[in-house]
């Protein structure tokens, strides 16, 4: 019974391609997140999204776009992949985003390698 799942687990692709990473949560949470983890294991938030608001980290290139077909899914679409996009991408969810701190539940991560 996976709470937060991501597909694919591994993704190897050529520079310039467009790819998507899918995230699904079955926890009934209202808010979902995408993080990028670099080689030093630092986590950088890219987006947080609930049905009311999309918050974008201004340092994220506009080649990255979140797409949410419904409350349980937040997919990450990346256009024109670059070498520097290689990283592990984590999806997370939390019950809601109301200003209160809520524990985030993380997916297993997607390792993206751009050649």
């Amino acid at each position: 019974d996976t709470a937060v799942s991501q597909t694919p687990k591994y993704l190897v692709t050529q520079m310039g391609n467009d790819k998507s990473i899918k995230c699904e949560q079955n926890l009934g949470h209202d808010t979902m997140y995408w993080y990028k983890q670099d080689s030093k294991k630092f986590l950088k938030i890219m987006f947080s999204y609930n049905n009311k608001e999309l918050i974008i980290n201004e340092t994220v290139p506009n080649r990255f776009s979140p797409k949410s077909p419904d409350k349980a899914h937040l997919n990450l679409h990346i256009n024109s992949l670059e070498l520097g996009d290689s990283a592990v991408y984590f999806c997370a969810s939390s019950p809601h985003s109301s200003g209160r701190q809520e524990t985030q539940y993380f997916g297993p991560g997607t390792r993206l390698l751009v050649l």
């Binding site: 630092f42 986590l43 918050i55 209160r100 701190q101 524990t103 985030q104």
Partner: protein, 110 residues
């Protein structure tokens, strides 16, 4: 099953009190990271520990990785309201997979 267990799940302390949060794994940890969750900013990196017995401090927060490299503790001395938040551990475990802990919610009462 959860690869990394944190305890306690939540903690309420009076300002000025010391507290400890633990992160335990059933497997050897190759790198242990502590984060603090900050609303609107995601996870803020606090400290990284790699060697058994290693201890690091930043301001009033000290983290230690035990000798067997299967448990880490995060200790806050003389807690302040600014310490309130959710603390999360993350770790490199065998198989080059990164896992997150279950989170500890800290409330500091002025």
């Amino acid at each position: 099953s959860q690869e990394l267990e944190q305890s306690p799940q939540s903690l309420i302390v009076q300002e000025g009190k010391n507290l400890t949060i633990n992160c335990t794994s059933s497997k050897t940890l190759y790198g242990l990271y502590w984060y603090k969750q900050k609303y609107g900013e995601g996870l803020i990196f606090l400290m990284m520990l790699q060697k058994g017995g290693e201890e690091k401090s930043h301001e009033k927060i000290t983290a230690k990785l035990d000798e067997k490299k299967q448990q880490s503790s995060l200790h806050i001395t003389a807690s302040q309201p600014s310490h309130a938040g959710i603390y999360l551990c993350g770790a490199d475990i065998i198989g080059n997979q990164f896992y997150f802990g279950t989170g500890t919610s800290l409330t500091v009462i002025p």
